[in-house]
Subunit: 429 residues, 2 copies
């Protein structure tokens, strides 16, 4: 089959009729599918059910240093949970604060604290005329929502194949003291699956920001979320904390991670990793906000996994469930869209998303058509600050929740809608 | 024995020598006791161990409306958890948001949100010149720490036998639009054990604040924490939400509660109860901060207790453990200090504290002496904003953690130190 651009007007019209017919048939099926969020499938949740056997009424709930985890106290996490979360992030336990159930909550609270109380003694952001933020795009909608909530002006930075456009980041950060942060998903990024190259990490760590309170928000959400078992097919990134230290910027980064997509989303353990200085400042505020997080759940996680090797083994069970799902989508896209050459998509080695780029000006229409056919996708534009994709071309596909069979159906809908929207655009309809 | 005030100078000197001898003997024992915080004792924690048998790897983790509690979602809590927390607070499920593990965290976040984003559309407090707060005293140190953290000016209001001095509250609140809130522990207050009378609750609900964004922070921390089984010996308070509604102030109150002192502190469930308007505004911010709290733990609590009757029965087991502890302290105080008439103390029907008032100017010294003898009390002054007890006379006793035997020892230390400090004050030494 020819690429759409090589078709005549008549051929395009013919193809459009054919696809519209297919779309009508799909709509008649009353399908109901959801590929909007990075939710683990029920089969993945089943993988962690044994964790509920770890404790019973006879259990000893003491941490390794003898603390009774059932009672108040230990604000920053029990030692063994710090160790496990440090290993997940590739850093040291003394750099870790263990929090509650969600890294999003830590990120929100970190921005909120900077807004209300500044960063390690700097002016609280609420007292500043203007605060700006760098947002590699496409990126994670919930990140952008946090900075938008605090009235922070977000600046798009292109996410290239090896990470954000560092020339642009360096330039902006060094010149504008209003820029206080950058959102990064350094490994298997949401939604592209991009992992930062060593050079990108090193350049990030060596930034010379004009603002002393500039921080890198390093959301290592998919640090251990590989899709393949063999190391050749796994991305690895440098440890940002030690790179920042080496570069003389020890306090410049906050790293976030959680077990939300390891055990149970909502019932996992989340953590922050950062420098000693930062931890000291954060704890001063944190001690006003809470007496401590759920230590029984921290202990439950550690007893279940024992150590990082237990976690890694567990992640391979997730990979086995997820791989066929990614493959179902990508196989369909390869088969049905490659020749037409009207879209590009990523084929990541980990994470939870496939990023799907269509012809400029078509994304919104495609998502809308899919919705009308019974398939919910993440809103077009969601991968950009303010929900505004300047080219209206990026669509995020979240293949984790539906079954592989459903994903074949879902891909068909997406493909038909993409074809129709593209031809109509080409024909200027 | 005579009251100290009726002793001659010589008799006082003699008594002082005697007590100093006793103090020396106590110090020689190398005691180590902690009555500083309202921590449940290990025997109380044992009461909830069966809750860990509720779930195992074979459990069905679906909420009553069919939601898989293992996955993301349900930001404001599963329906059955809303119902249980509503029953604990004496309100309706539709007024409830279920949060994570701690009501302190909800309170902090509520103040923080008002500071960053205002209250239902009002000017964010960070943009105001001055924000003030009413603090019934003595009160809960962690409350005062939250408002202090946000630079809010705290105004002491005497806590009388039936609640805060409402004449003063009404007067201040109606005249000063900078006053945005009041901290209340309406039942078995920390530290006095006071419960608000019906009249106090009604007057509170009928306040006519000058500030439209004034809110009552109703920390119903001890709503079901009775020390006695018979209802005649249990305090009851009116439901503030319906009183506010009746008074035409439906949005004026946030009520907080948790199961921290019901099951496991740190691993419990906390909740907010408030009006529909307030919930709507709060959820708009909350959806940026979190995807949801620990629903498995919510479900665990509901499956364990079944309903409010299960909770009430459970609380009576706590009462059985706590009663002898309160009695151990109060018996000792009655026996050793009543005649001397140099201190007063509360004998509450619930809650976690005994409030102990000594001669003006003596509290700090007594706490310091106790510490040197091996017994840690809450810092003197902690029950007042900024840690400043203007009369230096209130000491908070937290009898829940030590055993009754240890409490007899602890009381002896407190009594000796109180006697010494008082006589030295009387003799102007």
């Amino acid at each position: 089959m020819l690429a759409y651009r090589d078709l005549t007007k008549e051929q395009l019209e013919e193809e459009l009729l054919k696809q519209k017919e297919a779309y009508k048939e799909i709509c008649a099926k009353n399908i109901s599918l959801d590929m909007s969020r990075g939710k683990p499938g029920p089969d993945q949740l089943d993988l962690s059910m044994d964790m509920l056997d770890v404790f019973n009424s006879k259990s000893e709930l003491k941490s390794e240093n003898g603390f009774d985890c059932r009672n108040y106290g230990v604000m920053d996490g029990i030692p063994e949970a710090k160790k496990l979360m440090a290993d997940i992030m590739g850093t040291k336990p003394e750099n870790v604060i263990v929090y509650g159930n969600a890294s999003l909550n830590i990120m929100y609270d970190t921005v909120s604290r900077s807004y209300t109380h500044g960063v390690n003694g700097s002016t609280p952001w609420c007292k500043l005329e203007k605060v700006k933020w760098l947002c590699p795009v496409p990126g994670y909608d919930r990140h952008f929502a946090v900075t938008e909530q605090f009235g922070i002006e977000m600046i798009n930075v292109p996410l290239l194949e090896d990470g954000p456009d560092m020339d642009m980041v360096e330039e902006l950060v060094s010149k504008d003291a209003a820029i206080k942060g950058i959102w990064c998903v350094p490994k298997y990024a949401n939604p592209t699956g991009t992992s930062y190259s060593d050079e990108t990490v090193k350049r990030m760590a060596a930034l010379k920001p004009a603002a002393e309170d500039f921080r890198i928000y390093w959301d290592n959400a998919y640090g251990i979320h590989h899709l393949y078992d063999d190391e050749a097919n796994q991305d690895q990134i440098l440890d940002i904390l030690s790179e920042c230290e080496k570069a003389g910027n020890p306090d410049m980064v906050y790293e976030f991670a959680s077990t939300s997509k390891v055990t149970f989303p909502g019932s996992g353990v989340a953590a922050l990793a950062t420098s000693k200085n930062n931890i000291e400042f954060i704890k001063k505020q944190m001690t006003i906000q809470t007496i401590g997080h759920d230590k029984i759940n921290q202990l439950r996680h550690v007893r279940y996994f024992k150590d990082i090797n237990g976690v890694k083994k567990h992640m391979m069970k997730h990979a086995e469930k997820l791989r066929p799902k990614f493959q179902a989508v990508i196989t369909m896209l390869d088969k049905e869209l490659k020749d037409a050459d009207i879209a590009t998509w990523t084929n990541p080695k980990g994470g939870y998303f496939i990023s799907f780029d269509v012809m400029e000006g078509c994304a919104k229409k495609i998502v809308q058509m899919c919705k009308e056919a019974g398939m919910v996708l993440t809103g077009a534009g969601a991968t950009y600050p303010y929900g505004k994709d300047p080219e209206d071309k990026n669509i995020r596909i979240a293949p984790s929740f539906p079954s592989p069979e459903e994903l074949v159906e879902a891909s068909k809908i997406l493909i038909v809608c993409t074809k129709i929207a593209t031809i109509e655009k080409m024909l200027d309809k």
